[in-house]
């Protein structure tokens, strides 16, 4: 019974969080804290913190975290399946439509309008991460003392390496983590 409830809750979360990431948080809170009381608000805040510290989409992380606490490993698996099920169905239909009709002139037009948008969306995500890395939680500030110099240096070195040698980006991320980690711990 509890498995069914988990499944149904996460189907709703998967179905109504359009735009990913942050859009999912209020939905998850509504289902998990307000409606079913599976987590307290402070546990939920911890969950968001942990989801941001670990790889993977927030919705999947929440599904696993809530599922495992309420009903063990089967709970985690059922919640995760519920969470991705709406995507699977809807995206498969869209994929079929896209590959079938992408040669149509109108479809070509729509897609040519969307490609620059995706570049802009990635740029916007990049700016948010950059601001967080350099100025921290407070956001952009004109005060030079608010700037995190370690982040600036790591960023500069990493972008230089990426542009010059084109390595696997995962190595750059891990390398920044290790070097940054050592510097912060020493400081």
């Amino acid at each position: 019974m509890i498995l069914l409830q988990l499944f149904w809750s996460f189907i709703q979360i998967g179905m109504f969080s359009i735009g990913g990431g942050m859009a999912a948080i209020p939905l998850i809170q509504n289902q998990v804290v307000d409606l079913h009381h599976w987590l307290t608000l402070s546990e939920f805040t911890d969950l968001i913190t942990i989801a941001e510290m670990t790889p993977g989409p927030i919705a999947i992380n929440s599904a696993t975290f809530v599922g495992i606490r309420i009903a063990g490993i089967p709970g985690a698996i059922i919640s995760t399946i519920g969470c991705v099920l709406p995507s699977c169905i809807i995206v498969s239909i869209l994929a079929w439509v896209y590959f079938r009709f992408k040669k149509l002139t109108v479809m070509q037009g729509v897609l040519s309008g969307l490609r620059p948008v995706i570049a802009a969306l990635i740029a916007s995500a990049g700016m948010s991460v950059f601001t967080l890395a350099v100025w921290g939680e407070g956001g952009f500030s004109t005060n030079p003392q608010a700037i995190n110099l370690v982040s600036v240096l790591i960023f500069a070195a990493a972008i230089f390496i990426l542009l010059k040698w084109k390595p696997d980006p995962v190595y750059v991320m891990l390398g920044s983590g290790i070097i940054g980690g050592i510097i912060y711990l020493i400081m």
């Binding site: 179905m15 620059p116 995706i118 916007s124 990049g126 890395a133 940054g180």
Partner: protein, 193 residues
């Protein structure tokens, strides 16, 4: 048959690997997928990758999962999509299951905090690298409307914090209108000649 198996294996391992290292949510995985599937494996071209990302972003659910479904479907049909879903979902499922056992210790661990703080700057650089690459390709088209859409969409999402769904709807319509006007012009010119 052997080749097909190899493609399946590569699809699964690539998405598993990317998902395991995608810190920072949603859009961070797109640059990584582009590097892997467009630049390294050359299974998808850059325009198609951007098209798939647009679809992934406008569909419900996590962008990373949606993009993985589309890539898997494009490369190897429904079975490809199932493999890439599994590859994308398993790493967070495993990692969170383990961490949920001692999550307060993990959350308050200073080493974890320091490494993650260092990683933020690296992630920003990885995204910046892809943005430089994608942005210069858009500008190379020498199409004023594309350049304006890119600038406008950036302002709308980053500064004005407008819901992405609206931006996608509006820009998709602009693109459709633009191409309809262009084809009309071509038809007219054809008649004159």
């Amino acid at each position: 048959m052997e080749k097909r198996k190899q493609i399946y294996r590569k699809l699964f391992t690539s998405t598993f690997y990317l998902s395991a290292f995608t810190f920072g949510g949603g859009f961070v995985i797109i640059p990584l997928m582009k590097k892997k599937f467009v630049d390294d494996l050359q299974w998808v071209d850059e325009d198609e990758m951007l098209n798939l990302t647009a679809i992934a972003q406008s569909s419900p659910g996590a962008v990373a999962v949606n993009a993985a479904i589309l890539l898997g479907y494009k490369v190897a049909g429904i079975s490809g999509a199932l493999l890439t879903i599994l590859g994308t979902v398993l790493p967070p499922l495993i990692i969170l299951s383990v961490i949920s056992l001692f999550y307060t210790a993990f959350r308050d661990n200073i080493v974890v905090k320091a490494v993650l703080k260092g990683m933020q700057a690296g992630i920003a650089a990885v995204i910046a690298d892809v943005v430089i690459n994608l942005g210069s390709n858009v500008l190379k088209e020498k199409d004023m409307i594309s350049a304006l859409i890119m600038a406008g969409a950036f302002i709308a999402t980053y500064l004005l914090k407008i819901n992405v769904v609206y931006i996608i709807l509006v820009c998709g319509c602009i693109g459709a209108v633009k191409i309809l006007i262009q084809t009309k012009k071509v038809h007219k010119d054809g008649v004159h000649k």
